[in-house]
C-alpha cells in the first residue's frame, strides 16, 4: 500500500529543504468524489496531498505548462527559479515524463518524480462509478488490494470489484507502477489478471471497413472541435498546432508575408472532413509518443473514443518494432530512428 503520510512527508521535506520549487500532486476535490490536481510550494501544504483511485489526471501536462511559463518569464528578462519541480506520478504519468525527457522538452535534473504505485489496480472511470446506484453519492474511493475498490457512501463502505470501476486504459495497462522515478511509494505489482494489452482496439478492428468508417464518421460529426483532447495531452506541447490556425505563432520577427501565407492545412469548421483530418493528424503526430494515459478520451465532452486512434498506432509500433513510448527516455524515438534489423529492407 502507498503510505500517503510518507508521501506527504517526502514532499514536505523537499519543500522544506528548498530542493524543489513546487510539488505537483493531487488533493481532495471540492466537488464530488474525484481528487483534483494541485501545486504546493510550502511544506505545510503537503498535508493536503492525497493518493487514491480518483487521482485521474496525468500531471505531466503541468510540467509542460510550467516549462512554457518559465520560457515566458525568460522572455520578460526575469531570472527563472532554476530549481526542479516535483511531480506525483502514476505508471502512465511517469511514461509521459519519460517521453518529455526523450524529446528534450525537460531535462532530467529539472524534475523530481515521486512515483506512486497503482497497487496492481488503477484509477476509476467516473462514468462507471456514476452508473452504479451507490456511486452517485460516493464520498470516497480507496484501493482495497488489486481486485477491489472500497467505496464510501455516507457512513457505509462497500467493496466493488476493481474490474467494474477501472478506467478502460487501466484494464489494458502493461505497467501499473512508474519505472522512471526518484522515489517510489507502494509495491510494484507486475502480475495483473485484467485485460490483455490493446484489447479494445483489437476488438474494434474486427468490424468491417464500412462499419468502422460509419462509426468514425458518426464520431467526427459529433466533434465540437473544443480541443480539450489537445489541451489535456502532455505530448501536445507544440507552440503552433499544425491542424489549428488559431494557434499561429507570432513573434516580432514574423513578417506580413509570413502571416499572409500561413498554411491552413485544416479549417476550424467542425465538419466531418475537417474533424477527421484534425483527429487523424493528431493521432499520427502521437505515434510512438502516446503513453495511453487516456486523458483525451476522459475529457471529451461528447465521448469520442479517442484512445482507439492512439492505441491503434501504439499497437503497430509495439508489434512491428517492439517500441513502447516512455519505456526508456534514452531510447531513440520511433519515427526518427532506423535499426539494422528493421524488417523492411527497402529502407536500406
Amino acid at each position: 500500500m502507498v503510505n500517503v503520510d510518507a508521501l506527504r512527508g517526502y514532499a514536505a521535506d523537499l519543500l522544506e529543504k528548498g530542493q524543489v520549487r513546487a510539488v505537483i500532486g493531487y488533493r481532495r476535490g471540492t466537488a464530488g468524489v474525484l481528487a483534483q490536481p494541485c501545486t504546493i510550494d510550502e511544506a505545510g501544504e503537503a498535508e493536503t496531498l492525497v493518493w487514491d483511485p480518483t487521482c485521474l489526471n496525468n500531471l505531466a501536462r503541468y510540467l509542460v505548462e510550467d516549462r512554457q511559463q518559465q520560457a515566458a518569464a525568460q522572455t520578460r528578462n526575469k531570472t527563472p527559479d532554476g530549481r526542479p519541480v516535483a511531480i506525483v506520478a502514476k505508471g502512465c504519468d511517469s511514461r509521459a515524463v519519460a517521453v518529455l525527457l526523450q524529446e528534450n522538452y525537460l531535462k532530467r535534473e529539472d524534475v523530481v518524480i515521486i512515483g506512486v504505485s497503482c497497487e496492481g489496480s488503477g484509477v476509476i472511470d467516473p462514468r462507471k462509478l456514476a452508473a452504479r446506484p451507490e456511486g452517485r453519492w460516493a464520498s470516497r474511493v480507496d484501493f482495497a488490494g488489486a481486485d477491489a475498490f472500497k467505496v464510501t457512501v455516507g457512513g457505509d463502505e462497500t467493496l466493488i470489484p476493481a474490474r467494474d470501476l477501472l478506467a478502460d486504459r487501466c484494464l489494458e495497462c502493461r505497467a501499473a507502477a512508474p519505472a522512471l522515478n526518484d522515489v517510489l511509494f507502494g509495491e510494484v505489482v507486475t502480475e495483473r489478471g485484467l485485460d490483455e494489452p490493446f484489447r479494445a482496439v483489437k476488438a474494434a478492428q474486427g468490424a468491417t471497413e464500412d462499419a468502422r468508417w460509419a462509426t468514425w464518421e458518426h464520431h467526427f460529426d459529433r466533434c465540437l472541435r473544443c480541443f480539450a483532447c489537445r489541451a489535456v495531452c502532455p505530448m501536445c506541447y507544440c507552440p503552433e498546432c499544425v491542424v489549428d490556425s488559431t494557434t499561429f505563432v507570432n513573434t516580432p520577427g514574423t513578417t506580413a508575408e509570413e502571416k499572409a501565407t500561413r498554411i491552413r492545412w485544416c479549417e476550424r469548421s467542425a465538419s466531418v472532413s475537417e474533424s477527421a483530418l484534425y483527429h487523424l493528424t493528431r493521432a499520427i503526430h502521437l505515434a510512438g509518443r502516446c503513453i495511453d494515459c487516456g486523458e483525451c478520451e476522459r475529457v471529451c465532452p461528447v465521448n469520442i473514443p479517442l484512445r482507439l486512434l492512439n492505441t491503434k498506432l501504439e499497437m503497430e509500433a509495439f508489434e512491428q518494432f517492439q517500441y513502447e513510448a516512455g519505456r526508456d527516455f534514452g531510447q531513440a524515438s520511433l519515427l526518427s530512428s532506423f535499426r539494422d534489423e528493421d524488417p523492411n529492407s527497402f529502407i536500406r
Partner: protein, 649 residues
C-alpha cells in the same frame, strides 16, 4: 513571389505528344495566374529549344520558369543553365515531369492530358514561391584517401601522387600488394606477378606524397565531398620499420608457429615474420594474436636478440583524424570459402587446393620454391584436375555471378603445370570458356593445343579419396559420357567474392552495396567508378570481379575522377537545404536522429542545420511533427500550393 512565369511544354518527339495533348497543356497553362508566356516545342532540350527559353526570358522579362518535359534527373541542369544564360536564377526554374510520371505510364489521352496539366500547374505554383538562391561555395581539401593497398589502391595512389596530390593509403595488412603479390605468373603473357608489382610498391614507399598506413583501418567518416573527416585506427606497431634491418634474427628465436596466411596456409610462419621478401614497408611485423610475449611479457625472445632495438612491446594502437577531399575504395576480393564446397572435397583433402593456393605452389617465393608438389606427401602430381566455376554461376547453391577471371587463370594454371611437369596430364572441367580480352582466347587455345590440356565440358559431381588418389566424378557433355579421373591433385577455381569487411566499409562510408555484396557504382554504364556518395570512388574487384588490367584501368579512372574533383578551387553545393523555423522548434531532436548526413545539431535548445552537410533530402521535414523545418524551395507552403493545384477541379 514570382509574377511573370513562363511555361514550356516539350513534345519529346512522340514520347510525350503521343499520349498528352501538349498543345492543350500549353493553352490551359497560359490561362493560369501569373503565367505570361506559354509555348510548346518538339524538343525543348535541343539547341533551338534552349534558345527559345533564353529568348523568352529576355523578351518577356520572366521571373520564373517551368519546363514540362522529362525527369529532372535528366535535364534539370540543362534548363537551369539555360535559365542562367537568359539572366534568370537557375533556382527559379523547375521541371514538371510529364513523361516518366505521365505519358509513359498512361494510355488514355484525355486523362493523361488532364494529369499533365495538373503536374505543370503544380510546378507553376511551386516556382512562383521559389527563392533565387545562390549555390553554397565550399573549399576543397586537396588530399585523397585510398582504402586498400592491393594493385587497385597502389595504382590509384601513384596516379594521384603523380598529379601532385597528397595521398593517404590505408591497408589493413602489414604489407601492400594484396592478392596480386601472392600470384606466380600473370595471364596472358606469363610475366612474374611480383616482378611487375614490386616496382609499383617501391614507388609507393619512395613517393613523398604518399603516406602509407599499413595495419590500419578506417573507423569512421564524416563530412561530405571535398571535405571528409576520416578517423583511422592504426594497430600497435611493435616493430619499428625504420629500425628493422631485416636480419631475420627475431623469427629464428620465435617459438610460435601458426599457418601463414600470406602463403594461403600451405606453410607456417612465426609470430614475428615478414610476409614477403618484397614487403612494403620493408620490415618484420609482429602478429599480436599469435605472440606469446605481449601482456604480460612471458617470452620476449625476439626483443632480446634484436640488435637494432626495433621491437617495443609497449606500443599501443593509435587513432587519428585526417581531412581529405575524396576517397577511393579499393578493398578487393576474397576467394569464396573452401568450406562451402564440400562436394569437391575442399577442406577435407590436403590435395584439393583453391586457385590462390596453387598460385603459391607455382610461385618461386612460395613454400616449394616454385615446384608443384602435393601438400600431403610432397610428390609431383602426375594427373591434375582443374574445376572451373567452383562456386560461380550457381545461383541455387553458391554465387550467381561469373567470377570472370577463372577461365583465364585456370588455363594459366594448366599451362604452368605443364611447364613444371612436362610428363603430367592436366584436365579442366568447364561450363563455357569466357576468354574475352586482348590475347586471352589465343592463350586458352595455346594451353589446349600446345600444352595438351584436356578440356572437358561439364561439371564435377563429386571428389573422393581412394587408394591415395583423388577420384573425380564428372560428366563430359560433349561426348555424353560420364568421366572418372584418378587425380593426384584437384584445383578449384573458386568464385571471387567481396573481401571480408566490404559490408562494414560500405556502412562506414555510407556507400551502397549491390545485391551480390560488391560495392555499388552510381550508374552501371555511365558512372562505373563513382559510388552513390559524391566524392567517394571505387576501384578494383571490390566493385565486381575483374582481372589485373581492368583493375588498373579502373584505378586510374578513379584517380582521374579525384584529380578532376580536387582541381577545383571550391565546390558548389546545392542551396536547397533545410532551414529551421526557430519559433516552432521545441528542440525534440527527432530531426537530428533522422538526418542521414549528420547535418543537424542542437544549438541553444533549437535545431540548427549545417548547410554544407545538408543534402536537402527532407528526412527532417518528414519527422518534424511541429512543421518547424523546411527545405528551401520545397517549403511546406509550396507543397501545400502544389497539392491545392493538383486537387483543384
Amino acid at each position: 513571389m514570382s509574377k511573370r512565369t513562363g511555361v514550356f511544354v516539350c513534345h519529346c518527339g512522340k514520347n510525350i505528344a503521343a499520349t498528352v495533348d501538349v498543345k492543350k497543356v500549353a493553352r490551359e497553362l497560359a490561362k493560369d495566374d501569373g503565367v505570361v508566356f506559354c509555348e510548346d516545342y518538339v524538343y525543348m532540350c535541343s539547341d533551338p529549344g534552349q534558345g527559345a527559353v533564353i529568348d523568352a526570358i529576355k523578351e518577356n522579362d520572366l521571373d520564373g520558369m517551368v519546363i514540362s518535359c522529362c525527369s529532372p534527373t535528366l535535364h534539370e541542369k540543362t534548363f537551369r543553365d539555360a535559365s542562367e544564360l537568359g539572366g534568370l536564377s537557375g533556382f527559379r526554374c523547375e521541371i514538371a515531369n510529364i513523361r516518366e510520371q505521365c505519358s509513359w505510364v498512361h494510355k488514355d489521352p484525355d486523362e493523361a492530358t488532364d494529369k499533365a496539366i495538373k503536374i505543370s500547374r503544380a510546378a507553376v505554383r511551386r516556382v512562383q514561391r521559389n527563392e533565387p538562391l545562390d549555390p553554397i561555395g565550399v573549399p576543397v581539401t586537396r588530399r585523397a584517401l585510398v582504402v586498400g593497398g592491393g594493385i587497385a589502391g597502389i595504382q590509384t595512389a601513384l596516379d594521384l601522387a603523380d598529379a601532385g596530390l597528397d595521398v593517404i593509403l590505408v591497408e589493413k595488412q602489414s604489407t601492400i600488394g594484396g592478392n596480386m603479390l601472392k600470384l606466380s605468373e600473370t595471364f596472358p603473357t606469363l610475366d612474374c606477378s611480383q616482378c611487375i608489382l614490386s616496382p609499383k610498391m617501391v614507388a609507393v614507399s619512395k613517393n613523398p606524397r604518399i603516406r602509407l598506413l599499413t595495419e590500419s583501418e578506417v573507423e569512421s567518416v564524416s563530412g561530405f565531398v571535398g571535405n571528409f573527416r576520416v578517423r583511422i585506427k592504426k594497430k600497435a606497431q611493435y616493430v619499428d620499420p625504420e629500425l628493422c634491418k631485416l636480419c631475420d634474427d627475431c623469427s629464428q628465436v620465435c617459438p610460435v608457429a601458426v599457418p601463414n596466411e600470406y602463403d594461403e596456409g600451405l606453410t607456417n610462419r612465426r609470430a614475428i615474420f615478414i610476409p614477403f621478401a618484397q614487403a612494403i614497408p620493408a620490415s618484420f611485423t609482429l602478429d599480436e594474436a599469435a605472440c606469446l610475449g605481449l601482456k604480460p611479457v612471458v617470452c620476449g625472445k625476439c626483443e632480446e636478440v634484436c640488435e637494432a632495438g626495433a621491437i617495443d612491446f609497449d606500443k599501443r594502437p593509435t587513432v587519428f583524424e585526417e581531412e581529405v577531399g575524396a576517397i577511393v575504395v579499393a578493398t578487393g576480393y576474397d576467394l569464396y570459402g573452401m568450406d562451402k564446397l564440400g562436394e569437391y572435397g575442399a577442406g577435407r583433402y590436403a590435395d584439393v587446393l583453391d586457385g590462390l593456393q596453387f598460385e603459391r605452389l607455382c610461385s618461386a617465393s612460395g613454400a616449394t620454391e616454385g615446384h608443384i608438389l602435393r601438400p600431403s606427401d610432397h610428390k609431383v602430381p602426375k594427373e591434375i584436375v582443374f574445376i572451373q566455376c567452383s562456386g560461380s554461376r550457381d545461383p541455387e547453391n553458391h554465387c550467381a555471378w561469373c567470377s570472370k577471371i577463372c577461365c583465364m587463370y585456370t588455363a594459366k594454371h594448366a599451362t604452368l603445370y605443364k611447364h613444371h611437369v612436362p610428363d603430367g596430364q592436366a584436365y579442366v572441367f568447364y561450363i563455357d570458356i569466357r576468354s574475352g580480352g586482348k590475347g586471352y582466347e589465343e592463350f586458352v587455345q595455346r594451353s589446349m593445343e600446345k600444352d595438351g590440356v584436356i578440356y572437358l565440358r561439364g561439371r564435377v559431381s563429386r571428389v573422393y579419396e581412394q587408394g591415395g588418389k583423388l577420384r573425380v566424378l564428372g560428366v563430359d557433355t560433349l561426348s555424353g559420357r560420364n568421366v572418372e579421373i584418378a587425380a593426384d591433385m584437384v584445383v578449384l577455381a573458386q568464385a571471387m567474392e567481396p573481401s571480408k569487411g566490404t559490408a562494414e566499409i560500405a556502412k562506414t562510408l555510407k556507400i551502397g552495396l549491390g545485391k551480390d555484396g560488391f560495392l555499388a557504382e552510381a550508374h552501371p554504364k555511365l558512372k562505373p567508378v563513382e559510388s552513390v556518395t559524391a566524392g567517394i570512388y571505387l576501384a578494383g574487384a571490390a566493385q565486381g570481379p575483374k582481372d589485373i588490367p581492368e583493375t588498373v584501368a579502373q584505378a586510374s579512372a578513379a584517380a582521374s575522377k579525384v584529380i578532376a574533383l580536387l582541381s577545383k578551387e571550391e565546390l558548389h553545393h546545392s542551396p536547397t537545404v533545410a532551414k529551421v523555423r526557430d519559433p516552432y522548434c521545441t528542440g525534440c531532436a527527432m530531426c537530428v536522429d533522422a538526418c542521414p548526413y549528420e547535418a543537424i545539431g542542437l544549438v541553444g535548445g533549437k535545431a540548427a542545420v549545417n548547410e554544407v552537410l545538408c543534402q536537402g533530402c527532407g528526412s527532417c521535414v518528414g519527422v518534424c511533427v511541429r512543421a518547424a523545418i523546411d527545405v528551401k524551395n520545397v517549403s511546406q507552403l509550396q507543397i501545400h500550393e502544389m497539392i491545392s493545384a493538383v486537387l483543384a477541379a
